[in-house]
Amino acid sequence: MKKYLLKRVLYMVLTLFLVATITFFLMKLMPGTPYSNQEKMTPQQIKIMNQQYGLDKPIWMQYVIYIFGMVHGDLGTSFQFSNQPVSYLISSRIGASAQLGVQAMLFGVILGIIVGSVAAIYRNTWVDTTATVLSIIGKSVPNFVLAVLLQYYISLKLGWFPIADWEGFSYTILPTIALGVGPLAETARFIRTGMVDVLNSDYIELARAKGMNKFGIIYHHALRNSLIPLVTLIGPYTVALMTGSMVIENIFSIPGIGEQYVKSIQTNDYPTIMGVTMLFCFGLVLIILITDIIYGIIDPRIRLTGNED
């Protein structure tokens, strides 16, 4: 177990290091030094700015400084918001994004489990058909289209929720739904397939032969067996939520990381792009590691051993 963890953490660090390196050199390939008001600056000023950002040093030196800084949590300074450290930009915005992400994940996964299991238990009835149709639609409607529709019809027309901004729980509801529908549909499909498999399995038949009732069978045997593999989807969901946050935060004017990322890309704010990129990578790698560990704990068949390949 210890050995396995150590190996995984090592891989994690290696991945992050590779991404940091690649990102750094890609950014260096980019033309120009895009300060927000470069045209108005004299060459003298640019020189001072370059000095300030360390851009006058040779590239390898900048690289060493960057990596060294990153290890210590220093991600450089934003080009766009003068003198704002990227780490500060991120930390002031991560709260909203994290809340939105966690809410959307919980909303999608919990509702998806319910919908999927009900569909499996009543398979080949109208309940199942409805759930299947809804999950296909949920999977097919892009979250940004849904977000625009929700915002217009629910907030603007019906006035049930605030249109935009991030000032309280009621502000989070529509973005959570828009972001969570994808995972919901995916979870429902996944759980349905898994549960139908489980319900057809020999050990469910044996449970019936023991004289257990339907509820006992579902609760004690079917649910646990079909829920365990869901853990493997948390990683992909995280990616989907990160992607989705870029557009959902934009539509609902949420001061989060995703919105910041889009802005930075549009304004060529390289330090911020690199910072957020590293943050996303770190988040994903960490979550994959955590879910792998959880999977090993809740599924007795999987043993985390050092000699596993």
């Binding site: 991404v19 792009i273 990578c281 994903l284």
Partner: protein, 344 residues
């Protein structure tokens, strides 16, 4: 015993005398042989959703690509301010919303009349803010979106399949290293690869295609590798190897046909995800951008005026969603057809 009941004839107890031919005949009937792909095709045809989806996709492909001679892109980017923001008008139909009328300040008003547009002019799906026919833009946009998705998927397939086969076939150390590489790549969110690629190359079709291809192939590679690994130990492949057939020939003759179901299914799932990604990138303004056209661009344009001219977003959104549903349903149908075990 009850002889009457059984209606015994004098010859009842004569031997029946089976002849050889009869037996062979009956065995033939007992085992109607269908090849695997025929069987899959037969199952697919039974799946109504999948068949309808296939038709919808075919129609969309034919219409969007067939329109090439008729829809001139240079014309599509010219602005005609006098026709700007007209609602849909279909001659002969008198349903509010499709007859040139639009709700303005709570009243249905004929926008065509108000703007003094000649009776002969009509736009089936209305126009956008520059006065382009929305119908034409949607058809053209669908073509671009489909092109991006299909070409990206082809690249993805090419990389994924060859990587998977090589990794699975070589095995040992090569496989190990190749799998580690995949592991690292897949722990980088797709989004980041795409964004980085778009920053390095200029946003546009080519860079989106490249970005999508590079970020999506790992799933395919993994599945193909797993299949190759298990096929490698199958007897007919072993036999071919001992007979000294070259690896390339074996791969072509035995592996590719056997992994083809995986390829087909996976392709059907990759295309909608590529369509989504293109729309997503264009929507947030880092993908294809106006005056170029794609479904994502149209959605982005439409969203800006959604409050006042909702049709400008609804129409491309509907097309996009139908396309996504069709590909997803076809993918599900193919998966069920190729793998009868998943059918329930």
């Amino acid at each position: 015993m009850a002889e009457e009941k059984y209606n015994l004839q004098p010859d009842s107890f004569e031997p029946l005398g089976h002849d050889q031919e009869q037996e062979i005949e009956s065995e033939k009937i007992a085992a109607p042989s269908l090849t695997f792909s025929q069987d899959a095709w037969r199952r697919l045809k039974k799946n109504k959703g999948a068949v309808i989806s296939l038709f919808i996709i075919l129609i969309m492909v034919i219409v969007s690509f067939g329109s090439t001679p008729f829809i001139n892109h240079s014309e599509l980017v010219k602005s005609n301010p006098e026709y700007a923001n007209l609602p849909a008008k279909v001659p002969g139909i008198d349903i509010n919303g499709l007859n040139g009328k639009m709700k303005v300040g709570g009243e249905w008003t004929d926008v065509y009349k108000e703007n003094g547009i000649k009776d002969s002019v009509h736009f089936t799906l209305g126009t956008d803010y520059l006065g382009h026919s929305l119908a034409q833009r949607i058809i053209y946009g669908t073509k671009i979106s489909l092109t991006v998705a299909i070409v990206a998927t082809l690249f993805d397939l090419l990389i994924g399949v060859s990587y998977g086969i090589v990794s699975g076939w070589k095995g040992g150390r090569t496989d190990n290293v190749m799998q580690r590489i995949i592991e690292i790549i897949s722990s980088i969110p797709n989004l980041i690869i795409v964004v980085l690629m778009l920053i390095v190359f200029k946003p546009g079709m080519t860079s989106i295609i490249l970005a999508l291809a590079i970020s999506e192939w790992t799933t395919m590679a993994r599945m193909i590798r797993a299949e190759t690994l298990s096929l490698k130990t199958e007897e007919y492949v072993l036999a071919a190897r001992t007979l000294g057939e070259s690896t390339g020939k074996i791969a072509w003759k035995h592996l590719v046909p056997n992994v083809s179901s995986i390829i087909i299914i996976q392709t059907m799932y990759t295309i909608p995800s590529a369509i989504f990604f293109e729309a997503f990138l264009s929507f947030i303004g880092i993908g294809i951008s106006a005056p170029q056209t794609s479904l994502g661009v149209l959605l982005n344009d439409g969203q800006k005026n959604f409050q006042f001219l909702p049709y400008q977003m609804w129409y491309p959104a509907i097309v996009l969603v139908i396309l996504m549903i069709a590909f997803n349903l076809l993918g599900d149908g193919l998966r069920d057809a190729f793998d009868p075990r998943t059918r329930r």
